[in-house]
Each structure stands twice: as structure tokens, then as C-alpha cells.
């Protein structure tokens, strides 16, 4: 909504952007937010600053897990006031403009930000906290990791003095890029994909990795001690911070869930929200976008994961191995290079294990898993793939179209 406080040009920009958004919705082209937001920005680049206003924002960026952590952050900060969030996943500058202009009253914002757009979004929103999850290369992005890291470093140096950078210190690339932030706190966020972090971004030396830490023999940088970390707590997880231990329940399987929770609690703390209260809100998040709640299939329960790059696949493999859950790989056609980067994922961790494969790209998945030494079974459909494993919980690792298809099928076609 346009607001009398906005400069006239920004008001005009918002009006144009919104009507284009409605038009694209009427034409059935997606949610309309991209078209609306993009038009709005073309009219006035100051519009983000206008719609952000003086609300207190948390930005969430990184290569993987942004949507999930943004949802957890949005929940965690609700005790501090009403929260606006770009829940459609439109995470570039224009999508964020659209989300913020649709809700001009909420005093808080939890915003997922495409890693390449961090600088303009940070300039426009002047955030109170920036959450940085991880960093790895993505095929088809057209941007080198090096230039993303340099962009982050510039952005970090220009953050407002009262902004806290909440960074995953387990990722040496993220740690380096946010060295320049005025205030920085560390979360032990895990590193599933060392492939891109083998070389120190500061000096080019080969890093020394241990199970849970890293150091550079060249420039003597090492993993900063995390201020927030996830620890096992009985049959579940807790987050440790400043000598306090806060129990956290997150439906996301494996360490991924509680780690996202730790980022969310750190963000809540940065905004002055009580951590115990934030943890309750995080634990009440049953599901994010149909992604994590398990689906019942007789004696089996299937948990879906959507993966888009080798780091994502590495995380899924880690969840399966570390939680001792069997794996189904479901991949559907998604353009010519749909399975290309799966060859880079560490499927050899599943050597000798039974993995069931299904979907329109079964032949590719079988080839990849066979090369990794897994015991591959092909299944004609998702139910038989899940039932190829013993009763209990099964991880279903999907690419984007398989995730869409299978979650729709499991929900009984309600979406």
C-alpha cells in the first residue's frame, strides 16, 4: 500500500507496480510479485527504502536453506511485533519491494534475499541483522563464487553500525566475507559441502579441516568460536548460547532443523526478543511450504527434501547417513542439465546401501548412484520406492519438479 509519507515518485512507482502485479495475477502468470516488483523498481530505485521505512528487518541469505530459515526467523521474532516476510520465495530486490509494499504496517520484517542481491537490499532496508547461512557454487547462476564473496565483503563493510551479521562460522567462505561487518556473531551452522571451501578465500592456501573446525596454514585465519551452537539434548536438540541451553523442536530432519533454529534464535536475540519465547515460536512451526512434515504411507513415513545443487544433495545425504534413515532419490526432467550437478554430490557415502530411485530421470539417477557404489533399486512410482525400504521413516530426496509432483500427490491434489 502506498503511504502519505512516501515521496511522490515512490508513490507513483508503487501504484504502477501494483497494478502490473494484479494484471499478471489476472493473466495467471504466477503470483504476480516478480512482475509487479520489477516494474516498481524500474520506476524508482529508492522505492525499497520507502517501503522498508523504519521497520526492523532481518535479512537471510546464502546458497541453501534460505526459505526454511526465513520462515523460522519470522516465527522467532513474532514476540517482538507483527512480521512481514516474502513467503512466496521472490527473493530479489523487486520481490522484496512487492512483499513490503503489500504490508506497510508490520514493524518487523524477515526477508529471504538472493545472495547476489544482498547489497541493494541491505542498502534499501538498513537491516538490524543479516543471517548468512552458507556459500557454494551454483551451475546456471552465471556468477562466480569469487565475485559473490567479494560482493558480500563490500556489503558487510557497509552495514549499519547497529546491524549484527549472524554468520555460519563453520563455513570459511562466509566467515571471511563477513569479517568486515561492524558487528558479527557466529553460529555453528555446519558445512556439508567442503568442495568450494578447500582453498582459503583470503590467501589461497589449502585449508586444514577437522570434523568440526577449520584453519588456514597460510594466513592463520581459523574458525571463530561460535556464540550459538547446536548440541544433542536427550532424544532431540538444544541450542547453546552464553551458558544457557534452550531446547528446540523442529520438524526439519537431521541437524539442518535445529541449526536453522539456532540462526533464528540468534536473530531474535539481536532484535531484543526473549530467546526462550522465540524458541517456543520456532518449535511451533510445523512445516515450511509443505517441505518437511512427514507423509504417512501405511507403515512408512516419507519426508521430502528439495535439492537444487551439490551442496543441497550433500546435506540430504548427510541427513540420511547421520540419522540412519534410508533414502529414496526422485528426479524428474527439468531442462537439459537437470541432473548434471548430481554427479558432484558425495553419493559414495551411500556405497553398499540400498537406495531406491524413481521419477522421469531414473536412468540418470541410477547411473550416478551405481557409479557411487550404492545398491540401487528402481521403482515405477513413489509409493513402491518408499516401500522398497523397511517400514519406518524414509528420506525422499527430490529435485524441484519431483518435489512439486510428489508433494502434490501426497497432499491428495489439494495444491
Amino acid at each position: 500500500m502506498s503511504d502519505a509519507r512516501d515521496p511522490l515518485r515512490a508513490r507513483l512507482a508503487l501504484a504502477t507496480g501494483r497494478s502490473a502485479g494484479r494484471l499478471s495475477q489476472a493473466l495467471g502468470k504466477g503470483s504476480g510479485s516478480m512482475i509487479g516488483g520489477r516494474l516498481a523498481l524500474r520506476v524508482d530505485p529508492q522505492v525499497l527504502r520507502a517501503v522498508a521505512g523504519d521497520r526492523r528487518s532481518v535479512l537471510v541469505t546464502g546458497t541453501n536453506g534460505k526459505s526454511t530459515v526465513t520462515a523460522l526467523v519470522a516465527a522467532a521474532i513474532t514476540p517482538g511485533g507483527a512480521v512481514v516476510s516474502n513467503t512466496t520465495g521472490a527473493n530479489m530486490t523487486d520481490g522484496i519491494v512487492t512483499a513490503l509494499s503489500a504490508d506497510r504496517t508490520s514493524a518487523l520484517a524477515a526477508l529471504e534475499v538472493d545472495e547476489v542481491y544482498l547489497e541493494p537490499v541491505a542498502r534499501g532496508t538498513r537491516p538490524k541483522a543479516v543471517v548468512v547461512l552458507n556459500s557454494s557454487r551454483e551451475y546456471t547462476r552465471g556468477v562466480s563464487l569469487k565475485s559473490t564473496l567479494e560482493h558480500w565483503r563490500r556489503t558487510a563493510a557497509a552495514l549499519p553500525d547497529d546491524c549484527v551479521a549472524i554468520v555460519n562460522v563453520d563455513d570459511p567462505l562466509v566467515s571471511w566475507a563477513f569479517e568486515t561487518a561492524p558487528r558479527r556473531i557466529g553460529v555453528s551452522g555446519g558445512l556439508y559441502w567442503r568442495g568450494d571451501a578447500l582453498i582459503c578465500p583470503a590467501c589461497g592456501s589449502v585449508q586444514d579441516f577437522t570434523d568440526d573446525s577449520w584453519s588456514c596454514p597460510g594466513c592463520r585465519r581459523s574458525r571463530p568460536e561460535p556464540d550459538w551452537k547446536v548440541v544433542p539434548d536427550g532424544d532431540g536438540w538444544a541450542v547453546e548460547h552464553a551458558g544457557e541451553r534452550t531446547r528446540i523442536e523442529v520438524t526439519v530432519p537431521g541437524r539442518t532443523g535445529p541449526v536453522g533454529g539456532a540462526f533464528a534464535l540468534a536473530a531474535a536475540d539481536a532484535l531484543g526478543v526473549d530467546v526462550a519465547e522465540a524458541a517456543e515460536r520456532v518449535s511451533a512451526v510445523a512445516d515450511v511450504d509443505g517441505r518437511y512434515a512427514p507423509y504417512r504411507l501405511g507403515d512408512h513415513a516419507a519426508r521430502l527434501l528439495m535439492l537444487k545443487n551439490p551442496a543441497g544433495w550433500a546435506e540430504a545425504i548427510d541427513v540420511a547417513v547421520s540419522t540412519d534413515r534410508p533414502l529414496v532419490v526422485a528426479v524428474d526432467p527439468f531442462g537439459p542439465k537437470d541432473t548434471a550437478t548430481m554427479w558432484e554430490a558425495p553419493f559414495q557415502r551411500l556405497a553398499g546401501e540400498r537406495v531406491a530411485v524413481t521419477g522421469g530421470r531414473t536412468a540418470d539417477a541410477v547411473a550416478i548412484l551405481d557409479a557411487a557404489g550404492a545398491d540401487v533399486v528402481e521403482a515405477p512410482d513413489i509409493e513402491s520406492a518408499v516401500r522398497a525400504h523397511a517400514p519406518g521413516e524414509v528420506m525422499v530426496a527430490c529435485n524441484y519438479p519431483a518435489f512439486r509432483r510428489i508433494s502434490k500427490q501426497f497432499r491428495g491434489g489439494t495444491h
Binding site: 557454487r137 551451475y139 563464487l145 592456501s205 537439459p336 548434471a340 540418470d364
Partner: protein
């Protein structure tokens, strides 16, 4: 294992990912099947350069090429390659080892000169590529992906790495009038093809291993049914979608050329 090879991936972070990083592990797997033990290393700064039998340099986009040329120039790569080490250069890597390349503004720059090609600007082409079988290199029809806006012009008399059944390749013809792709000069293999090229096409991994071990006799037959099936399905899909791909274009280059005459 009868002998050991070192495969070095050079400066992977300098360029945009081209999904080519699984090429190193593909050489490890195919090597194991060929009784060769293959070790891999990643080199990301000049003073950690190692003597290797195979060098992989790749990625895509023209943004990183200048940095890649500079980094490679300060290594012994040229000396190693003239001693017979194999160099597989993919896309941005091919620009870097060319005699000359063009940056996005159109300005021409010197490359390392390890591949006898000059690079020129061209309209953008993206898509799946199918090569023609090549008996001289013991290669069946292979699959890969191209995404570039470049024309790769070989020096007279230098052969292309592939002739294409489907795809634009170098935007130049091969010796018999087919669409040329890449360059093969001594122990240097240059290509625009993205993706896990050696993983999807184990026969090409064989070619790299044979050159690296100075093997002249053909490898014994070795089937990889799962990969061959994935490739067969992918090629069938491309042929269905590509109007250009008639039966004639599936023939080996020389046969197709004779039919045209």
C-alpha cells in the same frame, strides 16, 4: 594397480561453474576399471601447482578468463603440456589456453597459446549436444551441453575434437563439412561442452587415460550399462526434439560426407 596417475584440477574458483567438476572423479572411476590408480588434486594458487599427468581447467563465462590466464601463466603448465601431460580445457578453460580470446566488451586478449585456436564473438547458443561416433578415437556418440556466445576458429590443419550430430559447436566446419566441436592438438583436448562430460561418456575418459599413459593400442571392451542407458535415453530425447537430427547426421563424419558428394 599397475600404475599411478595424478589428475590436477586447476583454479576451479576463478570461473563460473560449468558442472564440469565431476570430470576428475570420473577419471578416478574409469582409471580403477582400467587398473590405473588415479589421484586427484586441486590447485588454486600458482605456488601449489603440481606435476600431474592430466590437467583439467574449466568453468564458463568470460568474466573469469583474464584471471585464469594470469594464474595459469605463472605455473609450469605450458612446460608440462609440452612434455606430454594431457590438458582437458572446458569452455572458459578453452578461452584461456587459446592463442587469443575476446572479453565481453569485444576486446581481444592473448591466451596461453596451448591450443591452436582463436576465439571470436558469436550469437549465443545453448542446448544439448550429441556428437557423431569417431572410429579414429574409438568414440561412440557422446552427450554434453553447450552454452556460449563464441566462435572457436582452429588453425588450418588442426582437427576438431568432435563432429556434431546435434549442436552448434565451434560454429565452424570440420575437415569433411560437419559441425566441428572443440579442438584436439597433441595432448590438448579443448571443448565447449559443459557438464560431467567424462562421467557421462566413459569412452572419452578412456581417451584421456590412454593419452596420459601413452597407450597406443585400444582399451579392451568395458561396458558400463547404467551410464550407457542414461546416455541412450538422453540422446533419444534430443533426437526427438531436434528437427535437424535425421538418420544421415548420425553416421560417422566421413561416411556422411561421402553420401553428400
Amino acid at each position: 594397480m599397475s600404475s599411478a596417475l595424478t589428475v590436477a584440477t586447476l583454479f576451479p574458483l576463478a570461473t563460473v561453474a560449468a558442472a564440469d567438476e565431476a570430470n576428475a572423479s570420473a577419471l578416478v572411476r574409469r582409471g580403477a576399471a582400467r587398473d590405473l590408480s588415479v589421484e586427484t588434486v586441486t590447485v588454486d594458487r600458482a605456488d601449489s601447482f603440481v606435476d600431474a599427468d592430466v590437467y583439467l581447467v574449466g568453468g564458463t563465462g568470460r568474466g573469469g578468463v583474464a584471471a585464469l590466464v594470469e594464474a595459469l601463466t605463472s605455473t609450469d603448465l605450458a612446460a608440462r603440456v609440452s612434455d606430454g601431460a594431457v590438458l582437458l580445457a572446458v569452455d572458459a578453460g578453452l578461452d584461456a589456453i587459446a592463442r587469443s580470446w575476446v572479453d565481453p566488451s569485444g576486446a581481444r586478449h592473448q591466451g596461453l597459446g596451448l591450443a591452436p585456436v582463436d576465439i571470436h564473438a558469436a550469437p549465443e547458443v545453448t542446448g544439448t549436444v550429441v556428437t557423431r561416433p569417431d572410429a579414429s578415437l574409438d568414440l561412440p556418440a557422446l552427450i554434453g551441453w553447450e552454452a556460449n556466445d563464441l566462435r572457436t576458429v582452429r588453425e588450418d590443419g588442426v582437427r576438431a575434437l568432435f563432429t556434431l550430430e546435434v549442436g552448434a559447436g565451434n560454429r565452424t566446419d570440420d575437415a569433411v563439412g560437419g559441425a566441428a566441436e572443440g579442438v584436439l592438438a597433441g595432448s590438448v583436448l579443448g571443448t565447449r561442452l559443459h557438464g560431467p562430460l567424462l562421467a557421462l561418456n566413459p569412452e572419452l575418459a578412456d581417451l584421456v587415460l590412454a593419452r596420459a599413459t601413452h597407450r597406443s593400442e585400444p582399451w579392451p571392451a568395458l561396458e558400463s550399462p547404467a551410464i550407457e542407458r542414461a546416455r541412450r535415453e538422453r540422446i533419444a530425447e534430443v533426437r526427438r526434439e531436434s528437427p535437424k537430427a535425421d538418420w544421415r547426421s548420425r553416421l560417422p563424419g566421413p561416411v556422411a560426407a561421402r553420401l553428400r558428394r
